[in-house]
């Protein structure tokens, strides 16, 4: 192996007595301090700072308006514009879910229902948010476009039970989603 000999850099007198560097350092830190107090730190603008440093101060200020289109928040079920459940409880999302956060209890749609041809709907649909990793695989795999990742990121609770989203809560988060889905088509 080749030996590389490194020469320490020769310091001139000013560098040796070190005080110049100290003062430079003080100027640097104080510039940062002053700029930070005035809310003019580098990046304060783009990071939507609170006016002190580059930090956004959370409960009062939210990142919500700055969330990107592709942001993946809490997964939720959606209904169509007429309030019908899109989910047919095929359980594909339950099977694909890497951390096994989704638990579905399927049920049949009774034969006297006008949409009996759809056959199934979920009786229970639980997503354990302490397990969910927001990967979005459920959304990708869903053939009925019934589960979507919304932009909700504040999933909190005081008990483990609070962290499990049941069907009602999931529809609350999800809301409605407009668009044609084949299963509602009478002719098909």
């Amino acid at each position: 192996m080749a030996v590389v000999k490194l020469q320490r850099p020769k310091l001139n007198f000013g560098e040796k007595i070190y005080f110049g560097a100290l003062i430079k350092g003080f100027i640097l830190t104080m510039t940062h301090a002053v700029k930070s107090l005035l809310g003019k730190s580098v990046g304060a603008e783009t990071l939507a700072s609170s006016g002190l440093g580059v930090t956004m101060q959370f409960p009062e200020q939210r990142w919500d308006d700055h969330l990107p289109e592709y942001y993946r928040g809490a997964p939720a079920l959606v209904t169509d514009e007429q309030g019908r459940e899109r989910c047919v409880s095929c359980q594909l999302c339950e099977f694909i879910c890497p951390p096994k956060a989704i638990k579905i209890t399927p049920s049949e749609i009774p034969s006297d229902d006008p949409w009996a041809k759809v056959e199934k709907r979920p009786l229970e649909f639980d997503i354990d948010m302490t397990r969910c990793i927001y990967c979005g695989m459920c959304e990708e795999v869903c053939p009925e476009q019934a589960i979507y990742l919304r932009k909700d990121y504040l999933i909190t609770g005081l008990k483990r039970a609070d962290m499990v989203h049941n069907k009602k809560r999931l529809y609350e988060i999800g809301g409605t989603r407009v668009g044609l889905v084949n299963k509602w088509n009478e002719l098909k």
């Binding site: 100290l22 350092g25 830190t29 104080m30 940062h32 301090a33 930070s36 304060a44 440093g53 101060q57």
Partner: protein, 416 residues
């Protein structure tokens, strides 16, 4: 000594130590966190305040997070006080107290303000008006290294031990420079009583700002001439205080990157908090000493002190309290400077630290003593003697620099 005198002394001890200096410790912790945050473009602790909403009121007062240190202290109280099985118990328990107590004892010689007077009775705003002020501070403050060393040794684990040893070595190398650097100041004032030193600065200008109070014995030119040795002394003294209090450029006994947590690795809960408190108390006392010796102590300056001292309501001369406010302002400013240095200057390597202490500061302080002596004695000497003295001083300086240069070890070339 009658009851009244004892009562006055007790009141002074309790107020000045526990109501003035001790609250400065959490305050400086708060400043440390806020100021470092601002330097680093962050916000820092700004939430913890008085939780009025818990008591049924509408709003909480967050007070810029000023209550944060109390929350920190409470947290440390509630932590488990764990004593590892392998420690040497007696010393392990003693060490935290040994770091805090010396720092708080030194408070007693610091003059906080000019004397206040009530009903014709004058009282100095200093706990013990000792005639050996700085010497007392040095002798007691150096005891705090025992706490650190004992903590390192009694923890019976390698990183704390290295921290303790480093602290000892650092103390020895900087104590000499610390002591020597203020010799010029003491020569100039001819007094070791800190109260008298501050009084002289109030009358004739601060040591580093001698712009007022000129008279026959304190001419402007003589004061300006002494400014140079005073500035050198200030520099050496300040940097040595940094080393003495284990503050950032010299915090080798507890550097996290090398020694886990340094000498307090094995400590938890309030025992750890005591080390923390001791460090900050030492910082407060160090800045108080620097201010007292070089920056006029409680003096407001510009000839205003005489006016302030005469302020009174009836028999009550309250100027001392204004001076005390001035002293606290200066103290806080200096603590902020300490913090600024901590977040600006990177830590020294150990050999650089030793070299700085023994090769640079020790010699510089020694030469500074001679320089100051020459300047102080100059008015009484004949021109010829001053000339000889200055030539000798130049020769001495050159010799010291030459020795330092020659003795500097060249890095060995490992392979040609």
């Amino acid at each position: 000594m009658d009851i009244l005198q004892i009562a006055i002394i007790l009141v002074k001890i309790v107020t000045l130590t526990f109501l003035v200096v001790l609250p400065l410790v959490p305050l400086s912790v708060y400043f440390e966190r806020r100021f470092s945050a601002i330097i680093q473009d962050r916000v820092g602790p700004n939430r913890v305040g008085i939780p009025f909403s818990l008591l049924g009121f509408k709003k909480d007062f967050h007070l810029f997070g000023l209550v944060q240190p109390i929350a920190d202290g409470l947290k440390l109280f509630l932590k488990e006080d764990f004593t590892p099985a392998h420690v040497r118990k007696a010393f392990y328990w003693m060490a935290p107290a040994l770091t805090v107590v010396p720092a708080l004892i030194t408070v007693c010689v610091v003059p906080f303000g000019s004397p206040i007077s009530i009903f014709g009775h004058t009282e100095k705003l200093v706990i013990a008006d000792l005639d050996i002020g700085p010497l007392f501070v040095f002798s007691v403050a150096s005891l705090s290294v025992y706490g650190i060393t004992l903590a390192g040794w009694s923890s019976n684990s390698k990183f704390p031990f290295i921290g303790g040893v480093r602290s000892t070595a650092q103390m020895i190398s900087y104590e000499i420079a610390l002591g020597l650097s203020i010799v010029p100041v003491l020569m100039y004032y001819g007094d070791l009583n800190l109260g008298t030193i501050v009084k002289q600065q109030a009358d004739h200008g601060w040591l580093l700002l001698p712009l007022w109070g000129h008279d026959a014995t304190h001419t402007l030119s003589s004061k300006l001439l002494f400014w140079f040795p005073a500035a050198i002394a200030f520099l050496i003294f300040t940097i040595s205080i940094f080393a003495e209090t284990n503050r950032m450029p010299f915090d080798l006994p507890e550097c996290e990157t090398e020694l886990v947590g340094g000498y307090h690795t094995e400590y938890s809960s309030m025992k750890f908090a005591m080390f923390f408190m001791g460090e900050y108390a030492a910082m407060v006392i160090g800045s108080a000493l620097i201010i007292t010796l070089f920056l006029g102590g409680w003096s407001i300056g510009f000839g205003l002190d005489a006016v302030v001292e005469k302020l009174h309501i009836g028999d009550f001369y309250y100027g001392g309290f204004i001076h005390m406010g001035c002293f606290m302002t200066k103290l806080l400013a200096f603590i902020l400077f300490f913090i600024l240095v901590r977040w600006t200057v990177p830590r020294f390597r150990y050999d650089q630290l030793m070299k700085l202490g023994w090769v640079v500061f020790f010699e510089a302080a020694l030469i500074n003593v001679f320089l100051a002596a020459l300047i102080v004695a100059a008015p009484q000497l004949q021109a010829a003697i001053i000339g000889i003295g200055s030539v000798l001083l130049v020769i001495l300086t050159a010799a010291v620099i030459w020795v330092a240069k020659v003795s500097e070890e060249q890095p060995k070339i490992l392979r040609a």
